[in-house]
């Protein structure tokens, strides 16, 4: 990345997208055709800029422009009949400009600024269309959090730049790898961690993520697949700094684990499809932070990519499956004994594979990965149909064999290009905490799905459905500290409220 001309290649994509945004702004009539052209040219430009990028940067850039292109294409027919769609295109492309800059830049200041650009542009998309109070309140909450995150990021930039005397990330990371840190640089890293937690919709700052589906579906797809995971990317890219800062990984682990566990429970209780998807994003982002917290950077990157593709598709396709849902058969409810037996079998399977993983217990990421795999196999084994002949067992068998194989395969493939943390850098308690957390999640899942009438399930359910009430405090504070300015015509949930406002104004 030292050759200036090669480094300039990195800016091909953001530049192309920014031009596209300008075209959309000044030539509204051609917004869709030209913008769609740019969005489809972007993946090609992305490939052209590969020489200037790390593996992580390449993967993320392809992801961002790919999700962006598909989602923008989707928007064209979907938003047919909406007013000012050229503005939508403009802000969409600017969001992508910011996001693609974040994953391509080698400079700390550019990174911070482009992240803010993505956030501000996305804000315009969240309130696109006729004024809706729900959309405005959710966007406002996100706006406030993002500005706090901006402040944290600014502090991080200042502290890191002063400590290392440079804003060049390559230089800073080299220094960090050599163990050169100061109190100020470590404080900077902690500020960075805070910014990421705020921007990754982690509890209790997640409320906006659950409520932004007041915006059109493709905006949700863009947000959940292309923007909310930028924080995880930044952490993976700056891994050496995290490793050089005591406490950074621990904070991520705790924040991520609580979001992964509570978010997952909230997600399975949601009766609305987009609500379930949004809570799942909160949980999956938490899971990524857990993976980073235990030093499994390769898996974290894989998770960001896989989750983004899956979630973009899930949102865009969220109008499908109505008939299937109407004829959904009753779920299988294994007995307690069957759950326990399945746990024993799953653990046995994974332990028997342990020799392949060599010095198993010594490697925290392997411990975490194996335990998680074992837990994942439990519900699959527990719900496998035993009494319907061997052919009915095929899907379960494929999953039981396939999941560990895929997991190991990806780990092997990616481990070479995105190195995990050395075992020494991550305290063993981190992995054990994560393992304990997911064991508890498995146990809770077994109880609430198998005996929802049990005292524990009954006590937990109202809170899971309501997302553990964590957003209420934040919302109230928002209203008190910095109330949203709602468009006078904005439709509130009940028409009556609007009516009353008019009454008072008169």
């Amino acid at each position: 990345m030292t050759d200036p001309s090669a480094a300039a290649l990195a800016f091909l994509v953001p530049l192309g997208l920014a031009i596209g945004a300008l075209v959309a702004r000044f030539r509204p009539a051609q917004a869709w055709s030209l913008a769609a052209g740019f969005a489809f040219a972007a993946p090609l430009l992305a490939v052209l800029s590969f020489p200037a990028l790390s593996f992580t940067g390449r993967a993320m850039l392809l992801l961002v422009v790919g999700i962006g292109a598909f989602t923008l294409r989707f928007s064209r027919r979907y938003l047919d009949g909406e007013r000012d769609t050229h503005r939508y295109v403009q802000w969409f492309l600017l969001t992508l400009t910011g996001a693609s800059l974040v994953v391509t830049t080698g400079d700390l200041v550019v990174l911070a600024l482009s992240w803010t650009l993505a956030s501000l542009s996305l804000h315009q998309l969240l309130t696109f269309g006729p004024p809706r109070a729900g959309a405005e309140i959710a966007a406002h909450k996100k706006f406030l959090l993002s500005r706090v995150a901006d402040a944290a990021m600014l502090a991080a930039v200042v502290l890191l730049a002063r400590s290392y005397g440079s804003t060049d990330l390559g230089f800073i990371l080299d220094q960090a790898r050599e163990g050169i840190t100061t109190v100020a640089s470590q404080a900077g890293v902690l500020c960075l961690v805070l910014a990421v937690v705020l921007r990754s919709a982690q509890l209790p700052f997640h409320g906006w993520l659950i409520q932004v589906m007041e915006a059109p579906t493709p905006v949700s797809a863009l947000l959940h697949a292309g923007v909310v995971n930028l924080g995880a990317y930044v952490l993976i890219a700056l891994a050496p700094l995290l490793l050089a800062t005591p406490g950074a990984l621990a904070i991520l682990l705790i924040a991520g684990l609580s979001s992964a566990l509570l978010g997952a429970l909230a997600s399975i209780a949601q009766p609305h499809v987009k609500g379930a998807l949004a809570w799942s994003t909160c949980a999956q982002m938490g899971f990524v932070l857990v993976e980073i917290g235990v030093g499994a950077f390769d898996l974290a990157l894989l998770h960001v990519l896989g989750h983004a593709a899956y979630k973009a598709h899930a949102f865009l396709a969220s109008g499908s499956g109505v008939t299937a849902a109407a004829y959904k058969p009753a779920p299988v409810r294994p007995s307690g004994l069957r759950w326990m037996a399945s746990t024993v079998i799953a653990v046995a399977i994974i332990v028997s594979l342990a020799p392949l993983g060599r010095d198993f217990a010594a490697q925290p990421t392997v411990l975490f990965g194996s335990a998680l795999l074992a837990f994942a196999l439990v519900p699959i084994i527990a719900t496998a149909p035993l009494r319907q002949g061997w052919r009915a067992l095929t899907p379960s068998a494929v999953m039981i064999v396939g999941l560990p194989a895929l997991y190991a395969g990806w780990h092997l493939a990616l481990g070479a290009v995105v190195p995990s943390a050395s075992p020494l850098a991550v305290p063993a308690w981190a992995s054990w905490t994560a393992v304990t957390g997911f064991a508890a999640l498995l146990a809770t899942y077994a109880v609430v799905t198998t005996s929802p009438s049990s005292a524990m399930a009954r006590a937990l359910y109202p809170h899971a459905l309501a997302g553990f009430h964590l957003d209420a405090v934040f919302s109230r504070l928002t209203f008190l500290v910095w109330p949203p300015t709602l468009t006078p015509r904005a439709v509130r949930v009940a028409p009556e409220a609007a009516h009353l406002r008019l009454e008072r104004a008169a």
């Binding site: 994942a376 519900p379 498995l442 109230r476």
Partner: protein
């Protein structure tokens, strides 16, 4: 349920009020069976004007278009002076056309709204700095209903013992949101102290809020209108239960839930001036509620004039004798008939029939309810059972797909579905979802790419695996609803009813096509709303095939002969399906017909494809940018049907305005612009009026439901439309949609189904029903059928009669008939 401290008479009166308020709520079918319903159905025992005034007063629900819209129509010449005069002359009020014109320039007074405690408490809050009770209550009740009724979306299914009200109490008593978000510490305790039984709660609430007995029903109605979407889902559960001989009380429980919030917020505000405001607001409201009807008079006159302009033209056109008209237009129908094609009465069929008759004058077309008179449930290959019949009926028959298959194929089908289910369940279980997303998530990138770049074909009927069967032509078998075999006599009776119903008991062509319709679209939660409403929001293919097989059956033919209906041996029935997004028509001849009538079938198919080319051009003008070259246009429409981002694949029944029950010769060669339901009816074959009676009580009611679904979604999208499709969020897997993150269930049609972004495509017009029959027959039916008479007398629709003798057109008004268009035989 017990109401302890009440006298028997009080208790009965309260029960009656609750029942009356609940009966006002029309049912809404779930998305997979999204059929059209008149959301005002519960109000139709009163006149449309009473209903409009009452809904306006209770919920500030607009019943008519905004004045701006009428101004535009006036400027476009669609509300001419003549029509206004006529509207004035036929209006029961003292309103004059001049006043209506003056009103066109004035702003109408704001509609009142029944006071609610939630709103009164909000008046004490600053909505800019605080969350509001209205929003919280709506979201909380919506969330409660969603969680209670959902059995498909959430993996964590809560226990629902004790019913909806008990379920709500458990959730609300554990909800810290009132304290954390709204800063009220007392609410949770007040909820814990509520009575355990919903009826006691309702009695206690009305008592505490001191609502006097005469005002109770209206208040309860207003309360239900506040959660109208979920109330209509609960009303559907009751409707469906009663159709099958059970009952369901969740609508009363929902009423108790919303009323409980009123009570709780009233009690927790005891130290404030909320009680005083409540009393005062109610008094003020009672005064203003009586003004609504008067205020709406001008709008009704403008609306009536707008309708009359259309109805007058149509009436005059229908009054022309067919023979005279064809001589005038120069088109002649040949004497020999090559084939007959029976279509659903759906307004979309009119376009296809008109062009079909144009390109193939030797064809005859007929209109009949698209379920072809067989109220059946479809038993799919993998064992799922789906009703395919109008919402007014319960299934009397079943169409079984499995019979034609060997046990192995059947087992494969269920296993395939079980495997899909297993994979999905495993992928979403915890904590498996984390590694599953991690390791397989990237595969979705391929799905994204395929759906975007190569949308190959629209999603077919997910239950219709049988369509791929090599001998699919005759694979469906008709049985009784309980699965038992039908006797020949029962099948003959069914066939006879079908043939009489479509006035086709003689004059058979060698080939008779029964063409159902469906709409292949992708990723559209409201897709069933585009399919055949008479088939319960499904494609009519199954019904058409069962009907064709029935009418080809030798034993049935013999039975029909004994009843005096002689179908020639060479006449064969063939089923077909019209895809209304692409206008492709597919025929499904059975093996015998395919062999014996190959030429007829080929010719009919050619006629269909030639007609379809013209239909597409006619439709394309409203569908936005599309190529004009016919083949490219067909391809573009097929691509749109397969496009997962398409929100307007077709306009479905928008602009519907008329229903004609007459021989096709009456309307043939008229361009009805896809606005009319056409039902074949020949009064000469129906001396006792039995067929007409079934037309007026079933297809006309269904058409009226469609007509008012479009009406209500256009004039009052807040209460009866489902809002913006791009914000739709499916709830309970298939129960319905909410707009955005939560809140009330949104019912009716989306904005995208009635509006093109610039203008309303649907024009609200009450259905004009034209029947060609003599006066005594029609009057006798009206006397026997109070539900139909209510619709006519209450002007929910307009009933016109075409005299079979001289084609004079009469409007039923009050107790009599008024000549509106003299028969045009002699005077020309």
């Amino acid at each position: 349920m017990t109401l302890p401290a009440m006298l028997d008479t009080d208790r009965d009166a309260l029960r009656a009020d609750i029942a009356a308020a609940c009966a006002k709520v029309a049912p809404t079918w779930p998305l997979d069976r999204m059929i059209a319903v008149n959301p005002y159905w519960g109000w139709t025992s009163r006149s449309v004007y009473d209903a409009a005034a009452e809904l306006g007063a209770l919920a500030a629900a607009p019943f008519l278009m905004p004045r701006r819209w009428y101004r535009e129509q006036r400027e476009k010449g669609l509300i001419p002076d003549a029509a206004l005069q006529l509207a004035g002359a036929r209006s029961a009020t003292s309103q004059s056309p001049q006043l209506a014109l003056a009103a066109l320039e004035a702003t109408p007074p704001a509609l009142p709204r029944h006071p609610m405690v939630t709103a009164i408490r909000d008046a004490l809050r600053d909505p800019h700095r605080e969350a509001t009770w209205e929003e919280h209550v709506q979201r909380q009740v919506g969330q409660t209903c969603a969680a209670y009724f959902d059995v498909a979306q959430a993996i964590w299914q809560p226990p629902r013992d004790g019913g909806l009200y008990a379920f709500w109490r458990r959730l609300a008593a554990n909800d810290a949101t009132p304290q954390l978000l709204l800063g009220d510490r007392d609410v949770r305790r007040a909820i814990a102290d509520l009575p355990q039984d919903p009826q006691s709660l309702i009695a206690e609430a009305l008592d505490t809020l001191s609502v006097p007995a005469p005002a109770r029903e209206r208040y309860l109605s207003a309360v239900l209108l506040h959660i109208g979407g979920w109330a209509s889902h609960a009303a559907f559960r009751r409707w469906d239960a009663r159709l099958h001989g059970h009952d369901d009380a969740s609508i009363e429980e929902l009423l108790a839930v919303r009323l409980a919030w009123e009570l709780v917020l009233y009690r927790t505000a005891s130290g404030t001036d909320v009680p005083a405001r409540w009393t005062r607001k109610r008094r003020e409201w009672q005064a203003s509620a009586t003004e609504v009807r008067k205020a709406q008079e001008s709008d009704w006159m403008l609306q009536r004039a707008f309708e009359l302009r259309f109805q007058d033209k149509l009436g005059a056109a229908l009054a022309w004798q067919p023979a005279f008209r064809s001589a005038f237009s120069g088109s002649k129908a040949p004497a020999t008939i090559s084939a007959q094609a029976v279509f659903c009465i759906d307004v979309r069929s009119e376009v296809l029939r008109r062009h079909l008759e144009d390109v193939a004058p030797e064809l005859r077309t007929l209109g009949f309810a698209g379920f072809f008179g067989i109220p059946l449930a479809y038993d799919s290959l993998n064992g799922d059972r789906r009703p395919q019949l109008p919402g007014l009926l319960a299934a009397a028959f079943s169409a079984v797909d499995a019979d034609a298959y060997d046990p192995g194929t059947r087992a494969d089908a269920s296993r395939k579905r079980a495997a899909e289910q297993q994979w999905k369940a495993a992928a979403t279980s915890l904590p498996a979802t984390f590694p599953v997303v991690e390791t397989t998530g990237l595969a979705a990138a391929a799905k994204l790419a395929l759906a975007t770049i190569e949308p190959t074909r629209a999603v077919g009927d997910p239950l219709r695996a049988g369509r791929d069967h090599p001998d699919h032509q005759s694979s469906l078998s008709l049985r009784a609803a309980d699965g038992s075999e039908l006797s020949d006599a029962a099948r003959t009776a069914l066939a006879l009813g079908i043939l009489r119903g479509m006035s086709l008991v003689k004059g058979y062509a060698p080939l008779v096509a029964l063409v159902g319709h469906g709409s292949l679209v992708t990723n559209n939660p409201q897709a069933a709303g585009l399919a055949c409403g008479a088939c319960g929001g499904q494609s009519g293919e199954v019904n058409a095939r069962v009907a064709a097989a029935l009418l080809n059956d030798a034993a049935v033919r013999q039975g029909l002969r004994d009843e005096g209906v002689e179908i020639p041996l060479e006449t064969r029935f063939v089923a077909g399906v019209h895809d209304t997004t692409t206008d492709d028509v597919l025929l499904f001849p059975d093996a015998q017909t395919a062999a014996s009538h190959a030429d007829d079938i080929a010719e009919l198919s050619r006629a269909f494809s030639r007609a379809a080319r013209r239909v597409r051009v006619e439709r394309a003008s409203r569908l936005g940018e599309l190529p004009s070259e016919p083949d490219a246009l067909a391809e573009a429409l097929r691509q749109r049907a397969a496009d997962w981002s398409e929100v307007r694949p077709e306009w479905a029944l928008a602009r519907n305005a008329a229903f004609i029950a007459a021989p096709r010769s009456r309307s043939r060669a008229l361009d009805l612009k896809g606005r009319a339901f056409l039902h074949e009816y020949d009064s000469a074959l129906d001396p006792d009026g039995a067929v007409l009676e079934s037309i007026l009580t079933a297809p006309v009611v269904v058409a009226h439901w469609i007509n008012f679904q479009y009406w209500a979604s256009t004039v009052d999208p807040t209460h009866f439309g489902s809002g913006d499709k791009t914000r739709h969020n499916v709830v309970g897997g298939h129960l319905g949609v909410v707009e955005g993150a939560g809140g009330d269930l949104r019912i009716g049609l989306a904005q995208q189904s009635v509006h093109d972004g610039e203008n309303f495509v649907h024009e609200p017009m009450r259905l004009a029903v034209y029947v060609e029959a003599d006066e005594t027959t029609v009057e006798a039916i009206l006397a026997r059928q109070p539900a139909v008479r209510n619709l006519v007398d209450g002007e929910w629709l307009f009933l016109y009669r075409i005299d079979p003798a001289d084609a004079g057109v009469f409007l039923r008004r009050g107790p009599g008939w008024e000549l509106v268009a003299p028969g045009a035989t002699g005077s020309w």
